[in-house]
Structures are given as C-alpha cells and as structure tokens.
C-alpha cells in the first residue's frame, strides 16, 4: 500500500510519473503517426506495423554494432530507409492489387494480408537472428539532473523522445508544406478528385505505405537503446499504436499526437498508482487496452476522427 499512499500524498511522485509518461507518450505518438498516415491514405490498418518497428530497431542495432563510432542519426535514417523499401515492396506486391480490382473483399483481405506479413517478418527475423535479446548502448552520454531537483527521468528515454520530436516536426513540415505532402493529403481526402488534378493515387499509396513503414522503423531505431530487442518486440509496440490511433481518431495526425501523450500518461499513472505494485506492472499494457476498448465502444471515431 506504500506506493498507493505515495500516489495520493506526494506531488513530486505524481509529477515524476506524469513526466515519464509524457516522455514515453512522445515516442508512442511517433509510432502511431506512421499507422495513421497509412490509414488516412490507403484506408487500411497495417497489422504489420509492429514488425516494421522491430526491423528498424535491428537495422540500427546491427549498423551501430558493425561500425564503431557511427553517428546514431545515420543509423536511424538507414533504418528508416530500409523499412521504407520493405514497406514499398510489400505495398506494390500485395496491396496495390486491391486497388486494381484483382482481389475480392478488400477490407478482409487487407487485414489478413498485413497480418500474414507480420507473421512472416517476425519468424523470418527469429530464424535469422535467433531468440536472444540484444541491447544497444546509449546513443549519447550525458547526465540529466532531476528536474526541479525531484523529478527523475531516464536519460535514454529523454534522448529518444527528443529525436522523436525532431522527426515528428520534420514529418509535419513535409505533409503540410511540400507538394508530395499535399498530394498525400489530397488522396486521403478524395482519391478520384486527386486523380483528376494529376496525382497518381497508386503512387501515393505506395509512397504513403513506405513512409508509414519508415516511421515505424525509425521509432524502432530510436528505442533500440531504451529496451532490449527481440524478434517479438513489435507486438506490444503495435498494440500501443492501435490504442493511440483509435483514441485519437483513425487517420488524424493531431489525434495521433494527443493520443500518444494520453496513453503514455495513463500507463505511467496507472502502473504507479495501482494498489499492488507487482500486479500494477503486470497490468501496464492493460490500462491502455481498457481505454482502447472503451473508446471503441463509446466513441468509435475517437477524439478527432472524421467518420466511422
């Protein structure tokens, strides 16, 4: 009961939980952005998002491992590039036929084929890399003093969140200010109208899926220094991304950002304030999933969703 009392009485304990939750929330937001981007352009939920995240992490890990002193930023960008290519190839081979009328029941097909891809990627990396966990060393060495003298934060997570913020900013700039970004938004609003103005929706689909995959891969690369990495690390990551996009509203970018922060805060406070600390930790992911189930039942379009 000690922790529970602390949760009610100690402001600094509560503030620590909240700060750490929001730090994780920024990273969740980055993961979810890729998923929401794919949903808004292609109209499908990518069930292999977690596996692309896992692969991004492994690419960064092995690059940093192979080349001593490689700039972590380069490793993250390479992870993004690798997952972009994987995502774009998958889209070209398995998702484009949906839009060309070569596949029936596209809604069910999209769920199952991305799910099959997830399965394939997961066991391919298990077969190649093995079941043992890998742990990357810190990207940068710097000591962070407790904020206001009392709020302790994890150094690796702060670095990860900072990189995530930069990546989010670049993505937002790209989507809002460049022609390709406008093309993506046009296709997400109305495919046919976009085609009339000379945008090729098929190419935009391909690019959006690649970009979404790259965002998953880069968030994996950012987090490889935080968690130990195995072939199945993508499953909890993906389920958190689903929670975020459902909470924020599928296809909504501000929704993904806000949803990420909310999920981070809820998980952290829920775990820290659960009456029985050992069970609280075991239930960590469950807090998010309960919110998720409630949102689906009460307000399926989420906070900023367009329509269901």
């Amino acid at each position: 009961m000690l922790i529970f009392d602390q949760c009610i009485e100690s402001i600094s304990y509560l503030a620590t939980l909240l700060t750490n939750g929001l730090i994780m929330g920024i990273i969740y937001a980055l993961m979810a952005l890729g998923l929401t981007l794919i949903f808004s352009v292609l109209g499908i939920v990518n069930f292999s998002h977690g596996e692309l995240y896992m692969i991004g992490g492994f690419v960064a890990f092995f690059l940093l491992d192979a080349f001593e002193g490689l700039n972590p930023i380069l490793a993250i960008l390479s992870a993004g590039l690798a997952t972009f290519v994987i995502g774009a190839i998958f889209e070209r081979l398995f998702l484009r036929p949906m839009h060309q009328g070569k596949v029936q029941r596209t809604g069910e097909y999209a769920i199952l084929v991305t799910f099959g891809f997830a399965f394939f990627l997961q066991y391919l990396s298990l077969a190649i890399i093995g079941p043992f966990p890998f742990k990357a060393s810190r990207f940068v060495d710097l000591a962070i003093k407790p904020l206001f003298g009392v709020i302790r934060v994890f150094q690796t997570r702060v670095v990860a969140a900072a990189i995530a913020l930069i990546l989010i900013a670049i993505l937002l700039w790209f989507i809002q200010r460049t022609w390709t970004g406008r093309g993506l938004r046009a296709v997400s609003q109305d495919k046919d109208a976009a085609a009339v103005t000379g945008i090729n929706p098929l190419r935009m689909n391909n690019f959006a899926f690649g970009l979404g995959a790259a965002l998953a891969g880069m968030s994996g690369a950012v987090l490889v220094q935080v968690f130990s990495w195995t072939f199945n690390v993508g499953i909890p990551a993906a389920s958190k991304s689903y929670v975020v996009i459902v909470l924020g509203g599928m296809g909504s970018i501000p929704g993904a950002l806000l949803g990420g922060l909310i999920l981070g805060a809820v998980e952290s406070l829920g775990t820290g304030c659960f009456p029985d600390p050992s069970r609280g930790l075991a239930y960590q992911s469950a807090f998010g999933l309960v919110i998720f189930a409630l949102v689906l039942l009460i307000r399926p379009q989420g906070l900023f969703g367009r329509k269901l």
Binding site: V103, G107, E108, Y109, I111, F119, Y123, Y242, A286, L296
Partner: protein, 340 residues
C-alpha cells in the same frame, strides 16, 4: 437435373454424404491401424492436437467466412472455456464433464456480451477490439497468478484416467465431428442464408427483414461456445494450461489454417487445420523456418487463392459444384468479363 435428384435421398446429397462418412469411418479406424503398425503414440498426440485446431479453425471460418465478422477472439473464448473448467476443478472440485459444460456455457455468455458490445463495430474495428480483449485477458491471467498459477500453468484433471492416447483420440474426434455437424446444420439451414446476407450487405439484409442484431449475436455465441468447448476438452487432455495460449501466434495459426483450407467452407477449414498441423510437425527439423514458410504461404494464398488451397481440391474430390456454391467468392470484378 435428374441425376442430381437421384443422388439425393431425403435431401441428403449422397455425393457429399458418402465421401464424408467414408472419411469419418477412416478416422475412427485409424487408431486400430496405427496400433497394429506400432506407430509411436507421439503421432496420436499430433492427431489429437490437429483435431483441436480443426475445431477452432472451423468455428472461425463460420464466424469470419460465413458471417463476415472478423474476430480475433476465438482463442480468448477457447481460453475462457478451458480456464473455467480448470479453475472449477481446482477450487470447487467440480468434475471433468460438468466443468466442460460450465466452461462451454461461460464461453457462450462471454460471446453474448462481446457480440452485443461489438455490434456496431465492423471489420478492422472488430479485429482490433477482439485483439485487445484477448490481450487484456492474457495480461489478467498472468497478473492474477495467485489464482491462475500464471505462466507456471494451471493443473487440470486428466480427461480419462489412462496413459493410452486412444481414448482422448476418440474424444477429440467426437468433438470435431459434433462441432462440424452443429455448424454444418446451421449453415445449411435458413440461418446460413441470413449470415451470408448480413455479411454481403447488412443494410440490405435488414431491409429485407433479416433480424441483423439477433443473428450477429447468435453466430458469435455459437462459435464462442464451440471454441470454449474445444478448449475445455483439449486442456483436460493436456492437463496444464498457461496464458500463453492467448499469444497472438496461436490465433494467427488458427486463422492461417482456416485461410489456407478455405475460409468460406467449414470442412475445408477443418481439413486445412489438420494438414497444416501435420505439415508443421513434419517440418520440425526446419526449426523456425517452417513458420516463415507458413507466413509466406498465408500471404500467397490470400493473394492468389482467395477460396483457399484445399477448398478447390475438396470440390474436385466430392465431384460437386460446391459445398455451398453461392457462398464462395464469385462476385464480378471491375474490368473483368463474366465470371466462369
């Protein structure tokens, strides 16, 4: 037309009934042959597990293939049935058979609740919701390890008090045949038409007088009960139950079996499960590569053989137009001539 009428006795199509009864008789006689040939009990075990998966794959194909409800919750209902039976046996000394019955009923109750809650949700949302449901259940079972024994496993009473694999083989065979018979009767009846009408177009079905809410919940309850029943029976045989049965891998295996067999045919899905389970056992020396092959096969089947790999073969063997011709995807595609 006349040959078709002659091949029917009291509405039962002999061209289906004869091969199917032959198969069932073969399955009943298989243990005798296996014992006579001295085949290792290990293969009995493989066959038993294969029949467990076959029951689950068939129930998923009824829910997703016929009724169009893409639930990822089959394993969750299976686990509810199994844990109910196990916990009742552990704490209240409830016997095996009453435990299985209560487990089946509780799985049905949960199916009713989840089915009612998710009525509004379609496709992706339903898939996400049921994934979340089974993950919450898994985390809960892990966290409450004082009751459920968590990852150490909940001990279960043995199904029958013998080390022989023959009685559990027959029990599983009976379970599979019973489950298939119930579901087959269901899809051959008016209900089957209602399910498919709802799958194709919910609004149109409702407009034509199909009670959409009732049948959507009904199919959820039936498939949940069958999954719960299979779980309770099978884990009394395995004698130990861990929350790992709820890992997403397990659900993916069931789905892959149904898809490769033929998602819109119960029997093809069940055969798919049996073939794939034996296939995975034979491929054991390949270690994890067999799951890679499996994943690739799933993707290719989806892309190029939407009716499954086994379904067309079954159709050929049964020398019949189709088990249910009108259910199989034959809709006209844009940019294509008349479908064959």
């Amino acid at each position: 037309m006349s040959s078709r009428t002659m091949a029917r006795i009291r509405g039962v199509d002999l061209r289906v009934a004869i091969p199917l009864s032959a198969l069932i008789i073969l399955a009943f006689l298989a243990p005798v042959v296996m014992v006579a040939l001295g085949i290792a009990p290990y293969w009995f075990h493989v066959a038993i597990v294969a029949m467990f998966y076959a029951t689950l794959a068939a129930s998923w194909s009824l829910l997703a293939g016929y009724a169009g409800q893409f639930s990822f919750g089959t394993m969750a209902f299976m686990a509810i049935g199994a844990y109910t039976a196990g916990l009742l046996g552990q704490f209240l000394a409830v016997g095996v058979v009453p435990g299985i019955i209560l487990g089946t009923l509780l799985a049905g109750l949960f199916g009713l609740i989840i089915g009612a809650l998710t009525l509004r949700l379609r496709r992706t949302y339903l898939a996400l919701f049921t994934i979340a449901f089974s993950e919450i259940l898994r985390l809960g079972l892990m966290a409450e390890h004082k009751i459920t024994e968590g990852p150490d496993g909940l001990p279960m009473e043995p199904l029958v008090n013998t080390t022989s694999k023959v009685p559990p083989y027959y029990i599983h065979l009976a379970m599979l045949v019973l489950g298939l018979a119930i579901m087959y009767a269901l899809v051959r009846s008016r209900f089957g038409l209602f399910f498919r009408a709802i799958r194709e177009d919910e609004e149109a079905a409702a407009a034509l007088g199909v009670h959409v809410v009732r049948y959507k919940i009904f199919v959820f309850v039936v498939t949940s009960m069958i999954a719960g029943f299979a779980g309770a029976v099978h884990f009394h045989y395995v004698e130990i139950l861990t929350p790992n049965v709820l890992l997403i891998l397990q659900m993916s295996i069931v789905i892959t079996m149904a898809v490769i067999g033929g998602i819109e045919s119960l029997i093809a899905a069940a055969f798919g499960a049996i073939f794939i389970h034996f296939g995975l056992e034979i491929m054991r020396p390949l270690l994890n590569w067999r799951l890679v092959v499996f994943g690739l096969l799933l993707m290719l089947t989806l892309r190029f053989f939407q009716n499954g790999l086994l379904h067309p073969i079954l159709q050929f063997v049964l020398r019949r137009e189709d088990v249910l011709a009108e259910t199989v995807a034959k809709r006209k595609l844009p940019g294509e001539g008349d479908p064959a």
